[in-house]
């Protein structure tokens, strides 16, 4: 296990990058702590794969350094890095048995046979592969093959991190849960560092201790799943995490009033001054989970008309037109409203976030807390 | 480690170069010889013509029995390619879209025809085609070559047709296409690459075949492959002439490879050869 540090790292696929847009990976300064499970989350094209390839040593970053426990490995190849990788689709040695597959990375490193046997059996037990050890790998299911791939990384006691590149893509939904549980258990038992690449927020949130969110070649936020949900630092994190994502409503500042739809929020002088200094348009952000329907509260509730209802069993997602833009609210089943009804949306004051451009404006929790 | 990686490309290059020299040396020799006079050929080894001449090629282009044999070959090879494609396309479509009584056996039986040595057919073909008065016609050779080209064409085309989703057929019918119109205007353009690859293989195998072509022709339709054999076995061999004739047999193949090169590359990419 090791701590991995990325120092002023940048990567471009062009020989002479000029503008920021030429970089597939914009400047990153990041420490991947020992023994934690990380998820690298982002849509396709966000730079996840570039980051992964730089970590694994397939790509050599054009600028900056990669340090493993302080050792500079920036220019080392994959085999010299003590990194293991599980790919999107199962990559195994089809002509070998499961046992031979698991033993292979140790055999190539000239580890004594008895030691290999012991380690292979230990890891096979961890992964639930013991009964399959003598079977040919070829005939197994995709899920079992992914376990073998993972096992080939785990058998190596010196491994610094195991990179998993969307490893559940080709797995049947029914078996996804089981494999996810195994991943989590293995991570807890063996304390191995997993770096899990995915575009699925649920996978990221359930598996990882820390989520690294990427968008457009940039690391936009690093944090625990709870943190990302509660305090998105970037608009992208707001709408990429959570189902449905955060509501963003363009708003204007008029003296000490913040105008959101037809509602005017009274701000204290310090906040008003702070917001006035921001460059980039302001927007008002609130998660659908923190909106309810209720009676009008002048200067706080947001009036609008229900335009759509989605029944999700024990709860509803209600879309409300607030004059030009829409807000989604997640409300309990007991709340009654029909399409066309005029309603008032009541936000939880402490869950309101104000963004300037793409980034959040740090404000005290009580800014909007007063009137509810 | 680093030493190994720096050596490897060099070793690769040497191996590849040696192999290409092995492939090209006989062709080089044939080509060089075709530009030499017979005297120069028999009097000593020269790596390059001392007395450069086009006389051998001139002879071929001005002697009817020579140039007409190239035309004969070209005619039956083209005929064969067209016939093979025309009959193999619907069959390949059937194999790729339907299951029917005896389909598996039929497919295997077709492939056994690719395994039959042409020498086995020499005798019955001669008698059989004589009975239909087809001996010494282009069409006889074209049809005879179908025995190995049709199974091959069905096999290759079936692979390409399997890659076309069935929903395309259904959409076309819903849009009111008749079957022949659908086949000609939608399906055929979709598998252009497959047809290119198939045409290439039909052309190649028909062009290089000797036994059947020689058996079924006597004079009017005699192909270049047979003419070469005949001249060759005569006395007082004209080496330069034979070399020139040999070089000329390579040209149609190179032309065809050039025309279908993109289709073949795509065929390769699709994992079918």
């Amino acid at each position: 296990m090791a701590e991995i540090q990325l120092k002023n790292l940048r990567h471009s696929y062009y020989p002479n990058p000029k503008t920021d847009a030429d970089y597939a990976l914009k400047e990153v300064d990041l420490v991947w702590e020992e023994g934690l499970a990380y998820a690298l989350l982002g849509p396709s094209g966000s730079g996840k794969t570039t980051m992964l390839n730089i970590l694994s040593g397939l790509l050599s970053a054009s600028e900056g350094q990669v340090l493993f426990d302080g050792r500079d490995v920036t220019t080392l190849e994959a085999r010299d890095r003590n990194i293991a990788q599980v790919f999107q689709f199962p990559v195994i040695y089809e002509t070998m048995t499961v046992e031979e597959n698991l033993a292979f990375p140790l055999k190539t490193r000239k580890i004594p046979t008895a030691q290999i046997k012991e380690r292979v059996h230990f890891i096979a037990a961890e992964l639930g592969l013991t009964s399959l050890l003598k079977r040919k790998a070829r005939g197994l299911s995709a899920e079992q093959k992914q376990r073998i791939s993972l096992g080939r990384g785990l058998v190596r006691e010196d491994v610094a991190a195991i990179l998993l590149d969307e490893p559940l893509t080709v797995i049947d939904p029914a078996e996804k849960m089981a494999l996810r549980r195994t991943l989590k258990a293995v991570q807890l038992h063996l304390g191995v560092k997993l770096i899990y690449v995915t575009h699925d927020q649920h996978e990221a949130m359930t598996l990882a201790d820390r989520v690294v969110v990427m968008d457009d070649g940039e690391v936009v936020q690093v944090g625990s799943p709870e943190e990302l949900f509660a305090n998105p630092a970037h608009k992208f994190v707001g709408y990429f995490i959570g189902t449905p994502g955060m509501n963003f409503i363009d708003c204007q500042l008029a003296e000490d009033m913040l105008i959101v739809g037809q509602t005017r929020y009274k701000l204290d002088a310090v906040t008003a001054k702070k917001l006035a200094m921001q460059s980039g348009g302001l927007s008002f952000g609130i998660r659908p989970d923190f909106l309810t329907l209720g009676a009008e509260q002048p200067g706080f509730s947001i009036p609008g008309t229900v335009v759509r209802m989605e029944n999700h069993g024990d709860e509803h997602i209600i879309a409300v037109d607030i004059g030009g833009s829409q807000m989604l609210a997640r409300v309990e089943d007991s709340v009654c409203a029909d399409v066309g009804d005029a309603v008032h949306l009541i936000p939880s004051g402490e869950a309101i976030r104000i963004f300037a451009g793409q980034h959040v404006v740090p404000l005290p929790q009580t800014t909007f807390g007063g009137s509810s | 480690m680093s030493q190994q990686t720096s050596h490897k490309p060099l070793v690769k290059k040497i191996v590849l170069t040696l192999f290409f020299i092995f492939l090209l040396a006989p062709i080089y020799w044939l080509t060089v010889m075709s530009f030499k006079t017979d005297t120069e050929i028999v009097t000593g080894l020269t790596l390059w013509p001392q007395d450069f001449t086009f006389a051998n090629y001139t002879t071929i282009f001005t002697t009817k029995s020579w140039w007409s044999s190239y035309i004969n070959s070209a005619i039956y090879v083209s005929l064969n390619t067209i016939i093979s494609l025309a009959v193999a396309l619907p069959a390949a479509y059937a194999f790729s879209r339907y299951r029917f009584l005896g389909d598996k056996h039929l497919f295997f039986w077709l492939l056994t025809n690719r395994m039959t040595p042409p020498a086995v057919f020499v005798l019955p073909y001669f008698q059989f085609y004589s009975a239909f008065n087809l001996i010494d016609t282009h069409i006889a050779v074209a049809i005879a070559h179908c025995v190995f080209n049709v199974p091959l064409a069905v096999w290759i085309l079936e692979g390409f047709l399997k890659g076309v989703p069935k929903s395309i057929d259904e959409t076309a019918y819903i849009d009111g296409y008749s079957f022949p119109k659908f086949f000609a205007t939608i399906l055929v353009p979709l598998i252009r690459s497959g047809i290119g690859v198939t045409a290439f293989f039909c052309f190649m195998f028909s062009w290089v075949e000797l036994i059947l072509a020689r058996t079924l022709t006597t004079s009017d339709a005699k192909p270049i492959v047979a003419v070469m054999t005949r001249v060759y076995s005569g006395a007082g061999i004209e080496w330069g002439l034979i070399a020139a004739a040999g070089v000329l047999t390579l040209i149609p193949g190179i032309l065809v490879i050039w025309f279908v090169r993109n289709h073949i590359a795509r065929g390769f990419a699709m994992g079918r050869v």
């Binding site: 994959a78 293991a84 999107q88 990559v91 002509t95 292979f104 490193r109 791939s149 | 690769k12 590849l16 290409f20 492939l23 040396a25 006989p26 080089y28 020799w29 044939l30 050929i41 016939i83 009959v87 193999a88 619907p90 069959a91 059937a94 339907y98 299951r99 029917f100 009584l101 389909d103 025809n113 395994m115 039959t116 040595p117 042409p118 086995v120 057919f121 020499v122 005798l123 019955p124 008698q127 059989f128 179908c146 049709v150 199974p151 069905v154 062009w207 290089v208 075949e209 000797l210 036994i211 270049i224 070469m228 054999t229 060759y232 070399a243 040999g246 390579l250 193949g253 490879i257 390769f268």
Partner: protein, 287 residues
Amino acid sequence: MTEFNNRAWLFVLPVLVIVAFNAIIPMMTMVNYSVQDIFGPGNRYFVGREWFQELLGDNELRNALRRQITFSTLVLLIEVPLGIMIALTLPKTGRWVPFCLIILGLPLLMPWNVVGVMWQIFARADIGLGGAAITALGFDFNYSRDVLDAWFTIVTMDVWHWTSLIVLLSYSGLRAIDPAYYRAAQIDGASRLQVFRYVELPKLTGVLTIGIMLRLMDSLMIYSELFVITGGGPGSSTSFLSQTLVKKAIGQFDLGPAASFSIIYFMIIVTLSFVFYRSITRVQEGE
């Protein structure tokens, strides 16, 4: 699921007609001849299994078969490993790729007897570059007099002619391997040899089966090249099944024995191909 539809036979009909015309009717003629003794039109006798019995005890057929198997084994043993090796050394991308593929295609596009003519010339010590080169190295090389030289010439010629086929097939197979397999092997610390043994070879078995089958079938049918280059000689040392058959059918016009020979020949090829195919697929499954 594909539809079960017997109307599909309509689509297959043209193929059936043309192949029946070319294969079924001639084959029936052969079976018919093989059981008769024919002296001329209207002058034939039913002889039953006689020709078959005679042929099976015939030394000419047996020797031809023995030489045929030696030849086919030899060329397969050289062409398959050589072809795989060349495919591994070919560049995967770059401007040289089309150039390499065209050079590889050249031998395949040459009419078979022209291949024979070319090698006949090339291997001659007096007017051929290859023969002269071997002579210059101090060997007394003459393929029309010496059996070993003749074999060396025809095997070299076949390797020249057909290795490209294995190269092209293996190359397309290698290109189809996902880069992730190489990456995984690299991460596991595999050597070049191990990458070949555990990553590349298993992925090549499909195309190699096709390649080896085609080479086996075609090497069992070889005729045109040898007809020109050695004519089966010296003596009958390079006379294989096709040469022996054509000599019987056309040269001696022994219709009955030639027909029986054809049928036996056909059976040998189908059997050998089938046995070979089964053993390859069994090895693959057993892996």
